[in-house]
């Protein structure tokens, strides 16, 4: 191993989640700097696990059961609630194509170098995921989806039934074009984009 593994790599190694475990173990035998990092991660872990645990009240289960007796079991939700996430995802993609891409095209005068394009597209995708997740977790919709045991693939298949989404998905699958378009989205643009998505969701009562 020519280079020192990163803090992230050691963090995964300590958790037994590294796919280069043996190679890294050998490196550790001869590298005091990396040994120090591993010790710091392990020390942090033991510090955390040493914190006193909270005792669960002996009557906790009884309290839950008492509340459960007063709880009305909820029957399936109206169809439109089940489609709230698909609609939110569709709105995000419509905005991705309808707002972000033209925005990028309009700013072609910007000579920002086009390096790290996959990274930019990845960040945008992650921001969209965070946004939809945050919106959904606020509205119990994810709970309902989880309790129905709908897989993300099922969920996305439902979304894909709409024509507009299908068109967006085709565009998004063309990675080269997407990368080219998204290259220079900086943090400010990303924040503005997320803001637009939120506003769109509110105005259309989707979220």
């Amino acid at each position: 191993m020519k280079r020192h593994p990163s803090w992230e790599a050691w963090s995964a190694w300590v958790d037994g989640e590294s796919d280069r475990a043996e190679e890294m173990r050998r490196h550790l035998e001869t590298c005091p700097a990396c040994t120090e990092q591993v010790e710091a991660i392990r020390r942090l872990s033991s510090d955390l696990q040493r914190l006193p645990a909270l005792d669960v009240h002996p009557a906790f289960a009884a309290r839950v059961m008492a509340r459960a007796k007063e709880t009305r079991i909820q029957w399936p939700q109206p169809w439109w609630r089940r489609f709230a996430i698909p609609m939110a995802l569709t709105a995000s993609f419509l905005l991705l194509v309808g707002v972000a891409i033209p925005w990028r095209l309009l700013s072609t005068g910007d000579d920002t170098p086009s390096n790290g394009s996959s990274f930019a597209a990845g960040r945008l995708a992650e921001a969209l995921m965070d946004f939809t997740e945050e919106a959904a977790s606020d509205s119990e919709v994810w709970d309902l989806a989880m309790l129905d045991s709908i897989t993300p693939d099922d969920l996305l298949a439902e979304v894909a039934q709409t024509d507009s989404f299908a068109q967006c998905a085709v565009l998004l699958d063309e990675e080269a074009d997407l990368d080219g378009l998204m290259t220079s989205l900086d943090d400010g643009e990303l924040a503005a984009f997320q803001h637009l998505v939120r506003e769109y969701g509110r105005e259309n009562r989707i979220l």
Partner: protein, 203 residues
């Protein structure tokens, strides 16, 4: 089709180890109240600890854990053994805990020292000065944990206190395994720096 360019999953498919939970769920669905109580007892410690580490408040932890089980009960008839039961329950508790910590009004109360009813299993034969230092360090770590962003805290809690692997965490927080790996490393780094800045040294 893989959208967003990631292998994002939200569910863990049923495994053999999960059969016991789902058998109990089936009994509860058939009207056996003791079966649901058994599920509560089986998971109460894990869910209460998770909520406690997420909110830093003993009272909030119990309330959120109770609410998690009640939500589960409310939708009991809808449960099907496609997902791993624990993933589902952690997912509900996580949503509730995140909503709670996003409530800015409760923030100040949450960064509080460990409560009196926190169970301290450490040896009682330490010298008074050692004991005082240990308590001080605990308070620093507790505060450092609460000062992390919710996204960093949840991942650290699920790993360090609930002992879940990266796959399980990815399913609960619905992100890629690679995101768990990078976010967990960042959380550890930030907590380490906070503890060092506060003057904390490991015992």
């Amino acid at each position: 089709m893989e959208l967003f360019g990631c292998g994002c999953v939200g569910f863990e498919w049923k495994s053999v180890n999960d059969d016991s939970d789902w058998n109990t769920v089936a009994q509860a669905q058939a009207g056996d109240e003791t079966a649901f109580a058994e599920l509560v007892r089986r998971y109460e410690h894990r869910i209460v600890q998770f909520c406690y580490r997420m909110t830093g408040s003993a009272q909030d932890a119990e309330d959120l854990a109770q609410e998690s089980f009640i939500r589960l009960y409310r939708h009991l008839h809808r449960l099907t053994p496609k997902a791993k039961f624990s993933t589902l329950l952690y997912g509900i508790a996580r949503n509730l805990a995140l909503n709670a910590v996003r409530d800015a009004g409760r923030r100040a109360r949450m960064i509080a020292p460990p409560p009196d009813n926190a169970r301290d299993i450490r040896s009682g034969d330490r010298r008074p000065d050692e004991w005082a230092h240990l308590k001080e360090l605990d308070a620093m770590i507790h505060e450092g944990l609460q000062a992390l962003s919710p996204a960093h805290r949840e991942i650290l809690v699920l790993r360090e206190f609930n002992g879940l692997d990266y796959d399980a965490i990815a399913r609960i927080i619905r992100c890629r395994k690679g995101t768990v790996r990078s976010r967990l490393a960042r959380a550890r780094e930030q907590l380490r720096i906070r503890i060092e800045q506060a003057g904390g040294k490991a015992v």
